[in-house]
Amino acid sequence: MSLLRYWPPVLFAALAAYPFLPVADVIRGQQFTILFVYAILALALNVVLGYTGLLHLGMAAYFGIGAYTVGILSVPFFPFQQSFVVSALAGVLAAAAVGVATTAPVLRLRGDYLALVTLGFGLIVQYLIRNLDPITEGTKGLNPIEPGPVPGFAGTDMSAARLNSDWGTKWYDYPYLYFVALGLLVLTTLFLRNLERSRLGRAWVALREDELAATCMGLNPARLKIAAIAVGAGLAGLAGALYALALHTTGNPSFYDFNLSMIMVCCVILGGLGNRSGVLLGVLLLMGFDRIAVNILDNEIQDALGSSAKEYMKVSAWKLMIFGVVLILMMRFRPEGLLPEARVRRELHDADAKAG
C-alpha cells in the first residue's frame, strides 16, 4: 500500500528518464508530451470540480484560449512574435481573466444550471474560434508556432545540447518540450499539493461538502468559487499553451470542443474526484487508451489480419463503446473513482449504507 501511495513520484522519475533509454521513440515521446498536457488540464478541472464541487462542462474553452493566445503571440502572421515564456504567461492570464469574467455573473446558479451555463460557454468559445477566421484562421489553425528563444538563452545553439541525433534542432523540439511539459506537470502537482492544504484549499472542500454550513462559518462562497475558477482556468490556459507549442499549431477548433471537456470530466471522475494521484491515473488510463493504446492495437490488428480487417474489427471503432461501458460500470460499482479521496469515499459509502 505504501508503495502504491507513492507511485506518482516514481512514475515522474521514470518518465524523466525515458528519453535517455534505448527504447525511447520520437513518436511515443511526442504522444507522452501531449499526455502531460492533458494531465495538467485534468488537474485544472480537478480544482474546479474536485475541490470546489462545481460541475464545469466547458474546460476546453480555457484550454483553447491558452492555445490561441500563444498562437496569436507567436505566429509570424501577427506582429508580436513573443518568446514562449511571455506568450504562455499571457495565455494563463487570458484564460484566468476570461474564466473570472464569464463565471462571476453566474456563480449564484447551482448544480445543473451552472453545468449548463459552462457547457454553453464552452460551445460559444468553440464557435468563436471557428468563426473568427480572420484572427484564428478557422479550421486551418494558427501555424507555424515558432516561439522565439528562451529568455536568457538568446543566441545559444540549443541543438548542441542534444544527446540523440533525432532530438531536433530547435529548443522546443522533442524532447526539450517533453521535459518542459513534464516539469510543468510536476510543478503543477506540487503547487496543487500545497494549495490543497492551504487555507484556500480547505475552504474549497468545506464549500463542496456543504455550502450553507461553510457560509455560516464565515466563508465567502462567491469569492472562493471565483478563486477556484481563476486557478482552474489559469492552469487550463497553461495546458493549452503547451498544447499549441507541442503541436506547432493551434490545430483545428474541434480540438477544443465539448468532447474534450467531457473526457476531462470522465478522467477526473474515473480516477477519483478531488485526488491528485487519482486524476493522474484517470488521464493515464483514459487519454493513454484514447491517444496511444488504440493506435497500437489497431496496427496490431491490421498486421495480424492484413486486408481482411474490416472497419468494425478495429478497436477505434469501439472506442466510444468502451468509454461508455467503463463509465457506466464505474458509476454503478465504484462511483468514488479508482483512487478516491478519503472524504469522498466516506461520503459515497455512507450514502450506500443509507440506501441499502
Binding site: L116, I124, V265
Partner: protein, 315 residues
C-alpha cells in the same frame, strides 16, 4: 428581439419565421423528453439526443429494408404504409430502449449523488453513439425522400410544403395528446405528484418506479416520433446528429422552464425561430452561438425559464 428583425424589413421574414416554427416544433418534441425526465428525477439525460439519433437510424433501416427509397419509384400506398410503419415502430423501439436504460442503469443509482447519474448518462450517450457509428458508419447517410416538396400556399413570398405540413401535422397532435394525458389521466396526475415530491407521492401509494418508467417511455417515444419526422424533413441522418439536436432541445427545455411541459413547447418554438432567423440574418455559422448565448442570458436573468415557477432553493 423579433421587432429588431422585423424593422430590417428584409423580404422573406415570414418565410424564416415559418421555417423556425416548423423546426421549433421538432425541437419541442425532443425537449419534452428532457423536461419530463428532469421534472421527475432531476437528471439531465445526456443520452436523450442519441436516443433520437438511434430512432432516426431505425426509421432509415425500415425504409431501406422495405425497399421504399424514393417518392417516384414507389406507389403512394407503399410510401404511406412505410411512413406509418416508421411512426409506429421508431417510437415503440425508442420507448423500450429508454425504459430499459432507466431500469438497468439509472434505477440502481436513484439514491446516489446527482453527478454519478449524470456521468452514467454520458456513458450511455457514448454507447448509443458508438452503436450508431457501427450501424451506419461515420459519414452522413441519405434518408429516403418520401414526402413531396410541392408548395401548398399560393401567397407570395411564403413556401409551406407537404414536408412542413407533415412536421406540424405530427408534432402538434402529439403535444396536445401529451398535455391531455398529463392533465387528465390518473397516471398523469401520479406523474405530476411524483415530480412535486417523490417521497410524498410514494406515501400516497403511488408506484414511483412505475411512474418513472412511464415517463421514460413517453420521453423515448416522443424522441422516436421526432426522429422519423426529422429524417423525412432533413433527408439525412448522421451518428452525431443527436448531439446538436439534443443540445438545442435541452436549451429549449431550460428556456421554457425545465420540468414544465408547456414551457418546453414554447422554448422549442423560440429556439427554432431564433435559430432560423439568426441563420438568415447573421449567417449559418453564427446561429449556434446565438442560441447558446440566449441559453446563458436566460439562465443568468431568469433561471426558472420563461414559464417555470420561481422556486426557493431547497436546503
Amino acid at each position: 428581439m423579433l421587432d429588431v428583425f422585423a424593422q430590417t424589413g428584409a423580404a422573406g421574414f415570414e418565410q424564416f419565421l415559418l421555417l423556425g416554427l416548423v423546426m421549433g416544433s421538432l425541437y419541442a418534441l425532443i425537449a419534452l423528453g428532457y423536461t419530463m425526465v428532469y421534472g421527475i428525477i432531476e437528471l439531465i439525460n445526456f443520452a436523450h439526443g442519441d436516443l433520437f439519433m438511434l430512432g432516426g437510424f431505425l426509421a432509415w433501416q425500415l425504409a431501406w429494408t422495405l425497399g421504399v427509397r424514393t417518392l417516384d419509384a414507389s406507389s403512394t400506398g407503399a410510401v404511406v404504409g412505410a411512413v406509418a410503419l416508421m411512426l409506429v415502430t421508431a417510437p415503440l423501439a425508442c420507448a423500450a430502449l429508454n425504459v430499459a436504460t432507466d431500469r438497468v442503469i439509472y434505477r440502481p443509482l436513484r439514491s446516489a449523488p446527482k453527478l454519478t447519474v449524470i456521468v452514467s448518462a454520458i456513458g450511455v450517450s457514448f454507447v448509443f453513439m458508438n452503436v450508431g457509428s457501427l450501424w451506419l458508419g461515420t459519414s452522413p447517410v441519405k434518408f429516403p425522400d418520401l414526402v413531396p416538396d410541392a408548395n401548398l400556399v399560393t401567397a407570395a413570398g411564403v413556401r409551406f410544403t407537404w414536408k412542413d405540413l407533415m412536421v406540424v401535422g405530427v408534432t402538434v397532435p402529439t403535444m396536445v395528446a401529451l398535455t391531455l394525458f398529463v392533465k387528465f389521466t390518473p397516471l398523469g396526475k401520479a406523474m405530476r405528484a411524483t415530480a412535486q415530491n417523490p417521497t410524498a407521492a410514494k406515501l400516497m401509494g403511488i408506484n414511483v418506479d412505475r411512474v418513472i418508467a412511464v415517463t421514460f417511455a413517453i420521453g423515448g417515444s416522443l424522441a422516436g416520433v421526432a426522429a422519423v419526422v426529422n429524417g423525412l424533413y432533413n433527408k439525412s441522418v448522421h451518428y452525431q446528429m443527436g448531439f446538436q439536436n439534443g443540445l438545442y432541445a435541452f436549451t429549449a427545455a431550460v428556456l421554457g422552464g425545465i420540468g414544465n411541459i408547456p414551457g418546453a413547447v414554447l422554448g422549442g418554438l423560440v429556439i427554432g425561430v431564433v435559430g432560423e432567423l439568426s441563420k438568415a440574418y447573421l449567417g449559418t455559422k453564427w446561429s449556434e452561438a446565438v442560441v447558446f448565448t440566449i441559453l446563458i442570458v436566460i439562465l443568468v436573468f431568469r433561471p426558472s425559464g420563461l414559464l417555470g415557477a420561481r422556486t426557493r432553493e431547497k436546503v
